[in-house]
């Protein structure tokens, strides 16, 4: 049975097998995967439907990619913790994530680091909101 206090996560990645791997891995790391999405637009819909606490967001996706989804997610769901999850961590990706203040986790088989990043991202969003509730 899912722990009601566990972080509720949306997984957004265009690769079904990556989503499968993340679902298994994050649930072992005591997270609750509440929805999946194959692109950025779908991810925003799933956040709307589920009221999730956090999102794992692949950057390179067809349709609306992760870079494009981030500002919309920030605007509509300011409390949602976003973690960028990518197989690419070149200079452009790193600088963009720094500029957007989004933690970046490189795709790897062990999801513990991703889970830690999600917890930290959620905590930061809550702290920011408490400090500036009208922002």
């Amino acid at each position: 049975m899912t722990d009601p206090t566990s972080i509720r996560v949306v997984i957004a990645d265009d690769e079904p097998d990556v989503r499968l791997m993340l679902r298994y891995g994050l649930e072992i790391d005591e997270m609750s995967v509440v929805a999946e999405a194959a692109d950025g637009a779908e991810a925003i819909e799933r956040l709307e439907e589920t009221g999730a606490d956090a999102i794992v967001l692949d950057l390179l996706m067809p349709g609306t990619n992760g870079f494009e989804a981030i500002p919309e997610i920030r605007r509509r769901f300011p409390l949602v913790g976003i973690v960028a999850y990518s197989a690419v961590a070149g200079d452009f990706v790193r600088s963009e994530m720094r500029r957007m203040e989004i933690p970046l986790v490189l795709k790897q088989s062990d999801t513990a680091r991703l889970a830690d990043a999600l917890r930290e991202a959620c905590a930061r969003r809550r702290a920011l909101h408490e400090a500036n509730p009208d922002a």
């Binding site: 690769e15 079904p16 097998d17 990556v18 499968l20 791997m21 993340l22 298994y24 891995g25 072992i28 390179l60 067809p62 990619n65 870079f67 197989a87 690419v88 070149g90 795709k107 790897q108 088989s109 062990d110 999801t111």
Partner: protein, 231 residues
């Protein structure tokens, strides 16, 4: 690539770009494969049978195909399917190539008249399948709308034209699209890929005396054509 006057710096930059692309493409399936393998100890028999097991097979096959593609695109001829004396009918392979792309074909339409009786080609099923799979993957990734396949033949050659609505390469990119590890500007931020699909299709086709070429039709839509010698 192939420019004899590349400086050492340019060669090094090219090497880094290729390794970056290849590394990126291999990382995704290998990460998922390893991550799922880690779960085997905790998973139920049902989970293994219905989800994890099939995913592991898909990912392993995908990694194997990526490796073959990389070697073929790099000109390593040992990775090109051996042919011997083999014959295939292109129309028999169209459906197989389309269905092999599974998730990518969801919501997409293939228009192909299955009542074909064109002559056999002097190539095996594996080569024809590999060429068609890459042409379809390319059409799916970079175009919209239905993908139209037309097969024609003359006394010497069987031609399979793959057409779909696509932005297509920019004029200054057209000469590069068959270069290994090249991806057009439109492609880079939208979709994954090593940029070797068209290279592989052409390399495999040429290995059996055929070719893959690109042209634009009367409506300026992109058409890729696989031509293979008749058996």
């Amino acid at each position: 690539m192939g420019d004899p006057e590349l400086s050492l710096e340019q060669v090094d930059a090219l090497r880094r770009r290729i390794l970056n692309v290849v590394g990126h493409e291999l990382r995704t399936p290998i990460t998922a494969l390893t991550g799922l393998a880690r779960r085997l100890g905790d998973a139920s028999e049902l989970q293994i049978r219905t989800e994890i097991g099939p995913a592991l097979v898909r990912l392993a096959e995908r990694t194997e195909a990526l490796l073959d593609d990389m070697l073929i695109a790099s000109g390593i001829s040992t990775a090109t399917p051996p042919e011997g004396i083999r014959r295939a009918r292109v129309s028999d392979t169209v459906g197989l190539a389309w269905s092999s792309l599974a998730e990518q074909t969801v919501g997409r339409v293939l228009r192909f008249d299955t009542n074909h009786d064109e002559p056999e080609v002097a190539a095996g099923d594996e080569s024809v399948l590999r060429c068609l799979t890459h042409l379809f993957r390319n059409a799916l990734a970079y175009g919209t709308g239905p993908i139209e396949v037309t097969i024609t033949a003359d006394d010497e050659v069987v031609r399979c034209a793959v057409r779909n609505e696509a932005v297509g390469p920019k004029p200054d990119e057209e000469g590069l699209i068959f270069e290994p590890f090249f991806r057009g500007e439109h492609a880079v931020t939208r979709s994954p890929g090593m940029g070797v699909g068209l290279t592989v299709a052409r390399t495999v086709a040429r290995a059996v005396g055929g070719d893959v070429t690109m042209r634009r039709d009367d409506e300026q839509q992109v058409v890729f054509e696989l031509s293979l010698p008749r058996a």
